[in-house]
């Protein structure tokens, strides 16, 4: 593979991993946040005002095809491009984490009386005059129907996190709804920001909402209406003239599916595609891409963190000293500079840098093989045959797995292998295709260690309980995503407290403490925060990367072309 890449580089047309993409959206192009797009767009002089009349369309290039259109059913990031344009939620999370009301009049809080009884009773007032794309009025019944549907037994709901605590939903009037929670659960606010409301008058009449025709031609309240789908090729959306918010300013939008990331970049270069998001532009085109005339290319931060995820039940990883030694012998700078083209910045936290819960004061990892050796010596790991350390009959030996064909990650593995060998660990690289590695191997903790990019939060809320809590270990019959099988009572308590309070300052203090513990205990070895290279054509206004949305076309209703 690398020979091929070289050949293409000579042609000035370097070829990335030929496996066109990592379908989980954790692409080879994932690189950490640096200056980012938002800042750049905002400082680039005066922003022209939106046009008085709707004009133009935008072509989004996606390396995966949006296929699931019912926003309450299982889907991946590309599907959400359609959801956020066609549907609305009660409120939307801005890039800085602020929740802005959409279908609701205001975001309920303890201050405005929307949340009472210490988080157990919620009341939401809804916006009047909102209509569905077919003209029917939107009411509280639609909200109740959507929340009920998620919990109805036969429905293949995407996630029931938070929703499973909701009970006694009462429609108090056409524009007011209330419910009770079984316990206070602060992340539910953020969860609702990504819960799109579906029409009762259509889906409620379907024989089976799982297979309703609606799922192939959705009707929402969002800025764009469903236009036409050409399977395997594109989806056309058209402006919703009766949209309740500002905009849309475009006449339409096309989500174009281009499976090969090189081909996608080529089409961006030749101008057939206006915007490249999600998997973005492969990092090895970075140098060339930033110089393209008439295009803006920059890193767009994402909430995913690239980490080494050790399986803490594996004998080699049980001891904290070993994890600390392995962490000290990762050459982050080399990974960032020589493998990821110097784009990303390393991170010490599981939280994205842009999150309000991010703790910037964590101790900085230093690449120090001597210190790593010292740590292992002190912990009693003695060098045995061929320089491999041993303790009580356990060899410091483990496998590192990641998605096959992700060239940058493979180089990362090589680099870490070399360093770890120097501190007396012996490494086996064992990579697998995406559909294999993220199956039982991952969720039942059958790996020894993984190189993975993933998010440690609940939906868009910083609460990482599903990834770190002791009762979230699926391999031990837990419910969650604590695949490294970390157990820490202090962390457990902090995460419980963080869920139970709605006070952001209190929550911030809790999550800062939690980040310190995770940095010390190293249940994950953080490397860098993801930030795919995204690109837009000059003249497109309104594009704002948002780590609190799962994709950056989240606000397409407010995009327009400058004249």
């Amino acid at each position: 593979m690398s020979d091929q890449s070289k050949r293409f580089s000579d042609l000035g047309f370097p070829l990335p991993a030929l496996h066109r993409r990592d379908f989980l959206g954790l692409s080879a192009a994932g690189v950490a946040a640096s200056m980012g797009f938002g800042a750049q767009a905002q400082t680039a002089g005066a922003v022209p005002p939106p046009p008085a009349k709707r004009a133009g369309q935008v072509v989004l290039g996606l390396s995966q095809e949006p296929k699931a259109f019912n926003p309450l059913m299982p889907g991946v990031e590309v599907d959400e491009v359609i959801w956020t344009s066609v549907f609305s939620s009660l409120w939307v999370a801005e890039p800085d984490g602020t929740l802005v009301p959409d279908l609701a009049v205001s975001v309920p809080s303890e201050e405005n009386g929307g949340i009472t009884e210490g988080g157990l009773a919620w009341t939401v007032k809804l916006r009047e005059g909102v209509v569905w794309h077919d003209g029917a009025p939107f009411t509280a019944e639609d909200v109740k129907y959507s929340l009920d549907l998620i919990m109805s037994p036969g429905f293949k709901a995407r996630t029931r996190v938070g929703h499973d605590l909701v009970k006694d939903i009462v429609v108090k009037g056409p524009y007011e709804i209330s419910w009770r929670m079984e316990r206070a659960f602060a992340p539910y606010l953020a969860q609702l920001a990504n819960t799109h409301i579906v029409p009762k008058h259509i889906l409620g009449k379907a024989e089976d909402p799982n297979t309703a025709p609606f799922n192939g031609a959705p009707v929402g309240t969002g800025p764009f209406k469903w236009g036409e789908r050409r399977p395997g090729d594109s989806i056309t959306l058209v402006a919703n003239e009766r949209y309740h918010g500002a905009g849309p300013y475009l006449e339409g939008a096309v989500a174009k599916y281009i499976p090969d990331m090189t081909a996608l970049y080529a089409q961006f270069r030749t101008g057939q595609v206006d915007v490249v998001i999600i998997s973005g532009i492969p990092a090895n085109y970075y140098e060339e891409a930033i110089k393209l005339p008439g295009r803006k290319v920059a890193v767009a931060p994402s909430g995913n963190i690239e980490v080494i995820m050790p399986n803490l039940e594996h004998p080699a990883f049980v001891e904290k000293a070993v994890r600390q030694a392995l962490y000290a012998s990762i050459n982050k700078q080399a990974i960032v500079d020589s493998i990821y083209y110097g784009v990303p910045k390393g991170t010490e936290s599981f939280a994205p840098r842009e999150s309000w819960a991010y703790n910037p004061n964590l101790p900085k990892q230093e690449y120090d093989l001597a210190k790593a050796n010292q740590l292992l010596d002190q912990a009693g790991w003695k060098r045995g045959s061929r320089g491999v350390r041993e303790k009580n009959g356990t060899r410091l030996e483990f496998a590192v797995s990641t998605t096959t064909g992700n060239a940058l990650r493979e180089q990362c593995q090589q680099l870490m292998m070399q360093d770890w060998q120097q501190v007396g660990a012996t490494i086996k690289i064992s990579n697998m295709p995406a559909a294999v590695i993220w199956g039982d191997f991952y969720v039942r903790s059958k790996f020894q260690s993984l190189l993975v990019g993933t998010a440690f939060r609940t939906g868009l809320d910083p609460d990482p309980a599903s990834r770190f809590a002791s009762d979230a270990i699926p391999a031990k019959n837990g419910n969650g995503g604590n695949y490294m099988q970390w157990q820490n009572t202090e962390a457990d308590q902090l995460m419980k407290d963080g869920q139970a309070t709605f006070n952001q300052d209190k929550r911030k203090a809790i999550y800062w403490k939690l980040q310190e513990i995770v940095r010390e205990e190293l249940p994950i070895l953080p490397i860098f925060q993801y930030a795919p290279l995204e690109g837009i054509k000059d003249g497109l206004v309104g594009y704002r990367p948002n780590i609190n949305a799962r994709q950056n076309a989240w606000n397409m209703g407010s995009w327009y072309w400058a004249r």
Partner: protein, 318 residues
Amino acid sequence: MSGFLIRRLMQAVLLLFIVSMIGFAILHLAPGGPLSQFAASGEMTQADLDRIAEQLGLNRPLPVQYLEWLWRMLRGDWGVSYRDQQPVLKIVTSHIGATMELMLTSTLLAMFLGAWIGILGAIKRYSLFDSLATIGAMIALSIPTFWFGLVIIYVFSVGLGWLPSGNRYTVGDGSFLNQLHHLIGPCIVLALVSTAVWSRYMRSSMLEVINQDYVRTARAKGLSERYILLRHALRNALLPMITITGLHVPTLLSGALVTETVFTWPGMGRLFLDSISYRDYPTIMGILMLTAVLVLLGSLIADLLYGLADPRIERSGQ
């Protein structure tokens, strides 16, 4: 004739049954599953994943799942895609048009070019043209399609700007000329390899015929070379091509995996590839069965046509 047909059809049914069983087993025994695409993003919890596995029936024993699939399939129900939440039949039919367009064009091009090169090569055996054609065919057969596709894009789209770098049409412009323009790149790539194959078959088939006694007799009768070639030699030389054409029929509908991906052609090949990466079992099985039926149908039709074209072939059941 009818006895032959019945026997062949019964064989076909048995084969389809075996194909479906093996396909189903391999697919489900392969590690990973349709839910792994959601597991990595961290948005869905284990309870969510387990619940959906239960709802999809993925945790039942494999034979039960197979029998249910088979029973549905026999009643014409292809199932519902795990990824699209749409009926598989609908998904498959929505991709066939694009594949037909590409495959028919490239196949016709390859057939005519290949036949012409093959015949000329056979008549002028060991001439400069024949040598060049032979070398060319070897090169064409050795070039990986993905590489050649990228070179075409690099030279003609990125470099010269003559051809679009992919897609079936320009967004907002679906005119015939526009579609034709988009067809050129992938068509060249697909036709290159097929032309090489066809020309080799045609050449050897022609060579075999051209040295037969009846051709010599025709020459001795004083017939013109052209007449001999077209009426005597070519007719017989084309016979083996019928079989090859028949075996080629399935690819007309099942598409070209690599070329469709490189040129972002929304056809069956890409649908198949995507479905595999999502482990979308119902869709994969649907495409698999469709291809199997086409292979059997193609070879059956070829055999029947062969009988019609060549009176020497007799069906034992006649």
